[in-house]
C-alpha cells in the first residue's frame, strides 16, 4: 500500500505575526518554521500507524523551495520512508493542488492524507481540490481512520455531530484532531532521516487563481474594564447595557 502525506511548512504556533514591504509580505525574521501541526500530529502519524499495521510505504510530499528541506527531514525522522519536494512556489491553493495532482497522476497513491488546514493561511483547500483534480472521493475533517484490507472506516465532523463512513481505497482525506497522537522523533530516526531519499521534482505548468494583495493586523483592544470580584452584578449589567451581549 502506497500512502502519501502532504505536508506544509508553517510558522511555529507561538510566533508573533508581523508584515513587511508595506504590509504585502509576511515578515519571516525570527520565525521558527515547523511542519504544519495538523499535517504532522494527525496525518503523518496516522499514516505511519497504518503502515505499521498493514505494511506499505509512506511518502511525504511537499511543495516549495529548498528552504523547506529541514521540515521534510523532520517528517523523515518521525518515520516516513521517503520524500518528494515539488520545487514550486506556494502562493495559491489551486496552483499547489495542480502541482500535487500532476505528480500523483504518474505516481498514484492508495491513500493521500492532508492536515485539515494550515495554521498560517487557514485555507482548508488543497486536499479537496486535489481530490477533484484526480476524481477521487474526499473525506474532510476526519477524526478517525481505520483500515481493513482495502476498505477504510472513518469518522468525520459534520454540523452538530459525527458521521461514520465506509469507503474503499483510493481516496483523499483531511485529518482533524483525534486521528492520532503526536510523535517525537528519536535519535535513531533523526540519524536515519539523513540518508532517506528526498526527490526534488521540477514545477508543473499552472497558473494562480488568487493573489494576496495585503495584510492587516486586527485592531488592538482598547483596554480591559475591570469589575470587582464582589460586584458580579455590575459585570452582568455591563454585558447587558454597555456591550449588549446578553
Amino acid at each position: 500500500m502506497k500512502i502519501v502525506v502532504c505536508i506544509s511548512k508553517a510558522p511555529d504556533t507561538t510566533s508573533k505575526i508581523a508584515f513587511k514591504d508595506n504590509n504585502t509580505q509576511f515578515d519571516e525574521a525570527g520565525i521558527q518554521f515547523i511542519i504544519n501541526p495538523y499535517d504532522e500530529w494527525y496525518a503523518l502519524v496516522r499514516a505511519l500507524e497504518l503502515k505499521e499495521a498493514n505494511g506499505g510505504n509512506v511518502t511525504v510530499l511537499n511543495v516549495g523551495g529548498a528552504e523547506n528541506d529541514p521540515i521534510i527531514r523532520k517528517a523523515l525522522a518521525i518515520g516516513a520512508d521517503d520524500a518528494v519536494r515539488i520545487d514550486a512556489p506556494t502562493n495559491d491553493a489551486l496552483f499547489v493542488a495542480k502541482q500535487i495532482a500532476a505528480y500523483l497522476k504518474s505516481n498514484p497513491a492508495d491513500l493521500v492524507l492532508f492536515g485539515k488546514e494550515t495554521i498560517d493561511y487557514n485555507g482548508s483547500q488543497v486536499g479537496g481540490m486535489l481530490s477533484a483534480l484526480l476524481d477521487l472521493p474526499y473525506v474532510s475533517l476526519a477524526s478517525k481512520l481505520e483500515l481493513n484490507g482495502t476498505t477504510a472506516m472513518l469518522e468525520r465532523e459534520i454540523e452538530g455531530g459525527i458521521e461514520l463512513l465506509e469507503i474503499s481505497l483510493p481516496f483523499v482525506v483531511s485529518a482533524a484532531k483525534g486521528m492520532a497522537e503526536a510523535r517525537i522523533p528519536n535519535m535513531r530516526g533523526i540519524m536515519a532521516a539523513r540518508t532517506k531519499p528526498l526527490n526534488i521534482v521540477p514545477a508543473f505548468e499552472a497558473s494562480n487563481a488568487t493573489e494576496i494583495k495585503s495584510f492587516t493586523l486586527p485592531p488592538a483592544k482598547t483596554g480591559c474594564k475591570y469589575v470587582d470580584a464582589d460586584n458580579v452584578d455590575e459585570l452582568v449589567n455591563l454585558l447587558r447595557n454597555e456591550a449588549k451581549a446578553i
Partner: protein, 315 residues
C-alpha cells in the same frame, strides 16, 4: 452574472451559518445589481424563510439519489445549479460542509477560492482571517468565477423582505464509493461554532468534577461550552470542545473565559469574538490584555455569583 448560495440544512432546517451565507450572497448580488439564488439540497422545512435574508429564488434538489451529505455529489449539484443561473459568484458557509465542498467546486470550475471571508468583497478582493485569527489578508480572485466561504458572525445581517420563488431542481449526480454508515448527533443541542455566547474554562478549574458550574452558567446564558487545549489533552473535556489555534476557531458575540491564562495559541482561536470576558485569579494572566471585561478572582467564588446574577437578570 448572478450569485448562487449553498444553504445547508441540518435535520431539514437551515443552519444559522446557511442564513449568514444567504445574507452575504444577497449583499454581493445587491452590490452587483443582480439576483441571489439559493441551492437547497435535501429535505427543507420552509424555503420561504430565505426571503428575509435576501434570496429571491431557490433551486431545490430533493431526490432519493442523495440521502446523506457526500461532498462529491453536493459539489456536482452546485456546479449544475451554477451553470443553470450563470452564476459568477458562489457563496458557502465556512463550516464543515462548506470546507468539504468549496475546494471541489474551485478545482472543477478552475475558479479562485477564498475561504473564511470576514467582509463583503471589494471589487475582486476579499478579506479573510489568516494566521489563525492573528491577522487578515486581502486576496484578489483572478478568475471570472469566484467562490467564497463566509466565517460565522462576519457580516452584519441586513433584513430583506423578498418573496422566494422555489423551483424543483434535478441533475445527474456521480455515483461515489462513499457510504454513510451512521450519523451520531452531538448531545449538546447548541453547536459551538454557531453559538452566540460561549462559556469556556481551563486548568484553573482544577478537575473535570468542577465543570458543573460552567455548564450551569452556559445553560442560564443559552451558551455553548468550550475549553482550553490542556484541559482537552488530559481528558477533562472532550476534544470537540477545544478552542484555539489547533482546535476550533470561534467567533461568538460573547466569549467568557474562566481559569484560562490566555496563551497566544488559545487567543488565536477566540480573538474573533466581539466581546471577551476573562475571570482569572492571576491578575498578570495575558488574557486580560485581550479582554473587554475582567474579574480578578477565584472562579469557585465568582462563577456561582455570576450564575445568580444572570438568573436575577432573566427573572
Amino acid at each position: 452574472m448572478s450569485v448562487l448560495i449553498y444553504t445547508d440544512t441540518s435535520n431539514g432546517t437551515f443552519t444559522k451559518n446557511a442564513f449568514e451565507a444567504a445574507n452575504y450572497g444577497a449583499l454581493v448580488a445587491k452590490s452587483e445589481g443582480t439576483l441571489a439564488t439559493a441551492i437547497v439540497i435535501g429535505e427543507a422545512e420552509d424555503v420561504s424563510v430565505l426571503g428575509s435574508y435576501g434570496i429571491t429564488k431557490a433551486l431545490h434538489f430533493n431526490e432519493a439519489s442523495l440521502t446523506n451529505f457526500d461532498p462529491q455529489k453536493v459539489a456536482q449539484i452546485i456546479i449544475e445549479a451554477a451553470k443553470k443561473i450563470s452564476a459568477t459568484t458562489i457563496v458557502l458557509a465556512h463550516d464543515y460542509s462548506g470546507k468539504a465542498v468549496a475546494p471541489i467546486l474551485a478545482a472543477k470550475l478552475d475558479a479562485g477560492l477564498v475561504t473564511g471571508a470576514v467582509a463583503l468583497p471589494e471589487g475582486n478582493t476579499v478579506k479573510k482571517t489568516v494566521f489563525s485569527g492573528k491577522a487578515f489578508a486581502t486576496i484578489e480572485i483572478k478568475t471570472s468565477t469566484k467562490i467564497i466561504t463566509v466565517l460565522p458572525n462576519a457580516v452584519e445581517k441586513q433584513t430583506f423582505s423578498e418573496t422566494v420563488s422555489t423551483e424543483a431542481f434535478s441533475c445527474e449526480i456521480p455515483s461515489t464509493r462513499l457510504t454513510v454508515k451512521e450519523v451520531k448527533k452531538a448531545s449538546n443541542e447548541l453547536s459551538l461554532t454557531e453559538a452566540d455566547i460561549v462559556v469556556s474554562a481551563g486548568r484553573g478549574l482544577k478537575g473535570p468534577e468542577n465543570w458543573g458550574m460552567i455548564e450551569e452558567l452556559a445553560k442560564e446564558l443559552g451558551a455553548a461550552t468550550a475549553c482550553s487545549r490542556p484541559v482537552a489533552d488530559v481528558g477533562w473535556r472532550p476534544h470537540h470542545e477545544h478552542v484555539g489555534q489547533t482546535g476550533l476557531a470561534i467567533r461568538p458575540n460573547l466569549y467568557i473565559a474562566i481559569g484560562i491564562s490566555g496563551a497566544i495559541q488559545h487567543l488565536a482561536g477566540v480573538n474573533g469574538s466581539k466581546v471577551i470576558v476573562v475571570i482569572n485569579t492571576d491578575a498578570e494572566a495575558p488574557f486580560f490584555k485581550a479582554a473587554d471585561y475582567g474579574i480578578v478572582g477565584d472562579a469557585f467564588e465568582v462563577v456561582p455569583k455570576l450564575i445568580q446574577a444572570v438568573k436575577k437578570l432573566k427573572a
